[in-house]
Amino acid sequence: MKKTFTINISGSIFHIDDDAFEKLQKYLQMLNKHFGTALEGQEIIQDIEARIAELFIEKTSNKLEVITDLMVDEVIARMGKPEDFMEPGEEEAAEKQSTETRYDTEQKMRRRLYRDGDNRVFGGVCSGMAAYFNMDVVIIRVIFFLLFFIIGPFNILLYFVLWIAVPKAKTTVQRLEMRGKEANISNIEKTIKEEVNEVGASYNKFMNTPDGERGQTRMERFGDMVTSIFRVVLRIIVLLFGAVLIIFGVASLIGFVTTMTIGHSIFSGGLWSFGGHSDVDMAALLNNFVSPGAHVISAIAISILVGIPILLLLFIGTKLLFRYKTNNRLIGLGTFGAWLLALIVLIVVAVNQVGNFRKETSQTITRNVDCAKCKTIYLEMNDDLYESLIQNNFNLDRMKVATVNGNQRLLGHPRFTIEKSSSGEYLLLIKKSSRGSNPEDAQKNVEQIDYNFDQKDSTLHFDPYYLLKDKAQWRQQDVSMILKVPEGKSVYLNEKMVSIINDITNTENMWDGDMVGKTWIMTANGLALKPAFTISKK
């Protein structure tokens, strides 16, 4: 008894024996190869097939009669064996080609690594690899054993990793792929036949060795148990990691939000520690640097810039913990896009702000120090009224931020130096400078600078700070003072002056810090230390 296939040739249906089918298929494939895939070749093949169909119709007296192997032989003889219509040169080339393509298709067939569940000791890892590499399974097992001498007990770990990672070949198609055989009908059929035989054989085996069977299954079960434990442990680790991320993310988020709103971050050391200081007053930062119009945008942009990474952490954490499905691509692209946008906005704002610093202008006031009879001018500092009000988290080029009466004011140290006066009088020059977007703006900013000092007899009292008027913003303001001392006259520096003196040239080459608490006399060469007492020439 044979199987039949139902085929159609040139539009007519035929029933054909399985071996006749194979022969016919091979013949047609050879024709196809010979005539090629060009239009002309295809036309020829169609004509030939039509003729073959005609012949088969003649041979099968009724529709239910099958085309047999013999009939196919006759038709092939009639149509001509491929050798008959090929040139001798062509013939050899075709032979080579057909063997080549056979080899090709076998190689091209996807070979995949599966675990062989039918031939296993533990998990079928070695059997699967043997099938993949077309080697004897014993060799693979020996290699595995030898690995122990190379990587020690890790060979077992490797085995378990493979057990988890490599899937078991469950379906017939998978089994074929494991062995690298093409998954077509005949192969599948062959495989099923083999399996049926094996079942029969193993049943007999079972009947003969009941103990052996039990021992084997025990080992298999043990292996399964170990891997499932391993899988559970892995899962727990993943869950823990997810939980940690969530906690961290939430803390950072709270810290960030509070920073933006009330100016103090509750958690220090979260994802929002700003260069060592855990308190950053974001509002103050914006107020003093960025012109009012851009406040809102910058605030939003910064929130997005920092917020998105924090949210991302939270997202990953919850996803690991709760395992819900998300459209990762959309989320990824979307958040990255928003983040990038925020970055661009910030950059634009920053560049914009630079425009506010374009022009610098200064204003110098010259004051006569009224002290015709003085020989020494005493320099002292007024009390520091703002020390306690200063926020310490700010340190920018001699500028500080203080909270005065609920408002924030910028203040800074003026700079003080001493030079020789050419007019024979004590003179005090006060230079206030600032930047702005244009000269007029710069000038306005200069006028916002407030600095005071006063004179009582021969003592000048200086304020330790200059202040910017309310709501003035930082525009690189500066106040520098020069005291011109005529030759022969002296000046005494109080200790507290150290906070504003700035590199006063002197003949002793003494540091500013050492100059205070001493009296200096202006000589032809510059400031010199005045001796404690003078020998007066009488």
């Binding site: 007519s12 039509a50 009639r78 219509f85």
Partner: protein
């Protein structure tokens, strides 16, 4: 081996001429053509015929018509074209020349 080669080459050249000769005059289909050739002792298998017919058709020397058949798929009936007939007469002259030439060579031996 070379003898077969040469024989095959000779046949190939002549076959086209024979086909055109057979078809000229009445429309025939592949099987008919084979029969006619067989009667004249020119044995050829169908597999050789179809490519030749298609080539001649693509060169414009033959044209075909479809005819329905009770015995299966529709059939192509081939006929010579105007060009084909011109080709045929030229080939005829060439053939005569060849035959004459060979005869003369044989005679001179």
């Amino acid at each position: 081996m070379n003898l077969d080669n040469t024989k095959a080459q000779m046949r190939k050249g002549v076959l086209e001429y024979c086909i055109l000769l057979v078809i000229d005059g009445k429309p025939l289909y592949a099987s008919d053509i084979i029969e006619e050739l067989k009667e004249s002792k020119m044995i050829v298998v169908e597999g050789t015929l179809y490519p030749l017919l298609t080539r001649l058709k693509n060169d414009g020397l033959l044209a075909y018509k479809w005819e329905e058949s009770t015995q299966g798929p529709p059939r192509k009936y081939y006929e010579t074209t105007e060009e084909g007939r011109n080709f045929l007469s030229e080939m005829g002259e060439s053939w005569e020349e060849l035959v004459e030439a060979v005869r003369m060579i044989k005679q001179h031996k």
